[in-house]
């Protein structure tokens, strides 16, 4: 996996050594995999509700944001973080620069940008707005206007 960023205000944890499996692999043999201590890669179309009861067994969850216009990952992040209080890392993988602040506010705890954004200044997009108009999973550092 390419460089993963954990801005200091996000939770940090040593997860580089954790093996990742796909959602389908997990569903097929979650009992065995949970003993190995793996993380899961969720695609937007994967049914997040089906792992709701197993969250304690999953070391980390990587949400795939590669499709710029597919917004299901934001709801997945919200459900994991805010509603189900998932304590493991929620990593946005294949993330797009322009969507960083949306992802962070939806509850991801770290991100890995797509290769094509190498060399860009993340700050402009992870902290683009100083104010927000709605409650969210993570409004840290924002002026709340609601």
């Amino acid at each position: 996996m390419d460089e993963i960023k954990n801005p200091s205000y996000l939770i940090n944890k040593d997860y580089e050594s954790i093996n990742l499996v796909t959602f389908d692999e997990w569903i097929e043999d979650s009992e065995k995999l949970s003993k190995l201590g793996v993380g899961i890669i969720l695609k937007p179309q994967d049914d997040i509700y089906s792992i709701q009861e197993q969250l304690e067994l999953i070391e980390l969850i990587a949400l795939d944001f590669s499709n710029f216009d597919d917004g299901r990952g934001y709801t997945q992040a919200y459900l994991l973080s805010k509603r189900w209080k998932y304590v493991g890392e929620i990593i946005a993988i294949n993330a797009h620069l322009d969507q960083l602040q949306f992802m962070i506010r939806s509850g991801i705890t770290s991100y890995q940008l797509l290769e094509s954004y190498k060399g860009s200044i993340d700050e402009d997009y992870s902290h683009g707005f100083s104010l927000c108009y709605q409650a969210a999973a993570n409004n840290n550092g924002l002026h709340l206007q609601y």
Partner: protein
């Protein structure tokens, strides 16, 4: 009227700064076409046939005179001296050059205007009755609720990349001027038996190629719980809405596929997890402050003994253009911008400045825009209406077309829009030429004609008395006619009359339809009444017979 705070303005500035960076990345080749498209649409920017089109929001249709002047300046500085008022409380500029866009948006932020989410797959500008707060019998002024809901979904982190666009309308009046049930989501303000305020919720309406009327998903949601309920609707849509088929992106297809009762069951299941979350409750303090912002700037005055002028032309104009105000001593004045040969909704910068000055003089500095692409002066003293009319006459703005069939709604059509299949404006002009006789127009009465240049239905042709939908057949422009659409009392999608008719023959067909109506109507029967009584066959026979 609602005023932006310093914080709100700061937010607008940050939005423009970010968009400028994205634009520069695009221009230097660091941002690809697809992503830039998605980002520019969220900032109201379209690529059209000849230039870029920018859609600026006019929340709830309300503009101050200063905002209107700023729009006039934009029209002169960045466009060709005019703007186009749309049917959904926006104004569009059609000749924008890409490198100038950030400066244009900055000019708008100075007066609290913006183009955020006026397009793209997110919550669009929320619409309300343009006469909100002005007429008798209103259940509640919808605007403070509109504003709270608009803000809540402004760059919402979870719901900014929905499957499709998401249009919300809110109505607080008895009659439905907002056409709630043709929206993705419609909210009707109601009171329950305990006199508590809440919302009836309709989901899954929309026009376009598959016109559908929204289904009721909740009969009463307490007003303080509305944000969590709306979030649940969007969450179900975000997760389950079709993303695999370009023509099935809107929520109406999801509601149809699941069935309204299954859809509302899923929404309720989600909502029960969040409805008690205090963070999602409507902020009553903010609501109160917004109610004060939207309070009317006038108080009743006693004009006993006032005799209005009886000038003939003034009387005709007044009959069509002036309505009663709930505040005694005041009138609501409608100004039609429709003129022969001019595009419906098109307004020159000069007209905008004249209207802004007249609004200062006669209407407490406020104007409103309507879905029939007219302008309303909401606060005109009854004893000043004649003076206003004289001024409007002087500037050629006293068209008495309002409330007649010459007040045609049309989209920009193939003259301007890259999606359009056929022209709209030239058809409107030809209809106006054919019916260019005020006596005849007054006799026909309030008959609504809407013309859309393609299935995107920007002119809402499905809900007009006579709707025209432009299409192409073997390279020729044709128009499909629909009849008797309505939303005011109940919502009905117009019925297709029969095979489409060529551009050449369409005005004759309209005249035939109008004649069938006139020949058959009884006293006080409007077009829909007659249509329901005599049936579509009577019209078909004459048009195709």
């Amino acid at each position: 009227m609602y005023k932006y705070s310093e914080k709100d303005r700061q937010f607008l500035v940050e939005r423009v700064d970010q968009f400028e960076k994205q634009l520069n990345r695009y221009l230097s080749g660091d941002l690809d076409e697809d992503k830039f498209r998605s980002l520019r649409l969220r900032n109201g920017l379209y690529m059209e046939l000849h230039a870029h089109m920018l859609r600026v929001a006019i929340p709830y249709g309300i503009l101050s005179s200063n905002q209107l002047r700023a729009l006039a300046d934009v029209a002169d500085k960045y466009d060709r001296g005019f703007g186009h008022f749309t049917t959904r409380q926006n104004i569009q500029f059609n000749w924008i050059q890409l490198p100038e866009i950030a400066n244009l948006l900055r000019d708008l932020t100075d007066v609290g205007l913006h183009a955020i989410q006026t397009s793209g797959k997110a919550t669009r500008n929320i619409t309300a009755d343009p006469l909100s707060g002005l007429t008798e019998g209103e259940i509640e002024d919808a605007r403070p609720y509109c504003e709270l809901i608009r803000r809540w979904f402004n760059l919402h982190p979870e719901f900014s990349w929905l499957p499709g666009k998401f249009k919300i309308a809110i109505n607080g009046a008895k009659l439905d001027e907002t056409a709630l049930r043709i929206h993705d989501l419609g909210l009707r303000l109601i009171k329950n038996k305990k006199k508590e305020l809440g919302f009836k919720v309709y989901v899954g309406g929309g026009l376009g190629a598959a016109a559908m009327i929204a289904a009721e998903t909740a009969s009463f949601i307490p007003s303080e719980d509305i944000l969590s309920y709306l979030e649940s609707v969007m969450r179900i849509y975000n997760l389950r809405g079709r993303r695999d088929h370009q023509k099935k992106l809107r929520i109406k297809f999801l509601v149809r596929e699941l069935g309204a009762s299954e859809f509302s069951r899923l929404v309720n299941e989600d909502w029960h997890q969040t409805k008690d979350d205090q963070e999602l409750k409507l902020n009553l303090k903010e609501l109160q402050s917004l109610k004060e912002d939207f309070a009317l700037p006038i108080q009743s005055i006693n004009l006993n003994g006032f005799q209005d002028d009886i000038d003939f032309n003034y009387s005709i104009w007044k009959k069509n253009n002036v309505r009663n105000h709930k505040v005694s001593g005041y009138s609501i004045v409608n100004i039609s911008l429709t003129k022969l040969g001019a595009a419906p909704g098109d307004t020159t910068s000069e007209q905008m400045r004249i209207l802004a000055n007249l609004a200062d003089q006669f209407s407490s500095g406020e104007i409103r825009t309507t879905k029939r692409q007219t302008i309303v002066f909401p606060f005109v003293r009854k004893d000043k209406v004649f003076n206003l009319w004289e001024s409007l006459e002087k500037y050629d703005l006293a068209s008495p077309h309002q409330g007649t069939m010459a007040q045609i709604v049309a989209c920009p059509g193939r003259d301007y829009c890259s999606l359009a299949k056929a022209v709209s404006i030239p058809i409107a002009t030809r209809v106006q030429e054919r019916f260019n006789d005020m006596k005849k127009l007054l006799d026909i009465g309030d008959l609504k004609i809407n013309i859309s240049g393609c299935e995107n239905s920007c002119a809402h042709h499905h809900i007009a008395d006579i709707g025209l939908l432009g299409m192409q057949k073997n390279g020729e422009e044709y128009y499909q006619i629909t009849l008797a659409g309505e939303t005011l009392h109940e919502t009905n999608i117009g019925k297709k009359l029969g095979p489409s008719i060529s551009g050449e023959g369409i005005v004759d067909s309209i005249e035939t339809i109008v004649n069938v109506y006139i020949d058959n109507r009884k006293i006080n029967e409007n077009f829909t009444d007659v249509f329901k009584r005599i049936g579509i066959e009577a019209f078909k026979e004459k048009v195709y017979g």
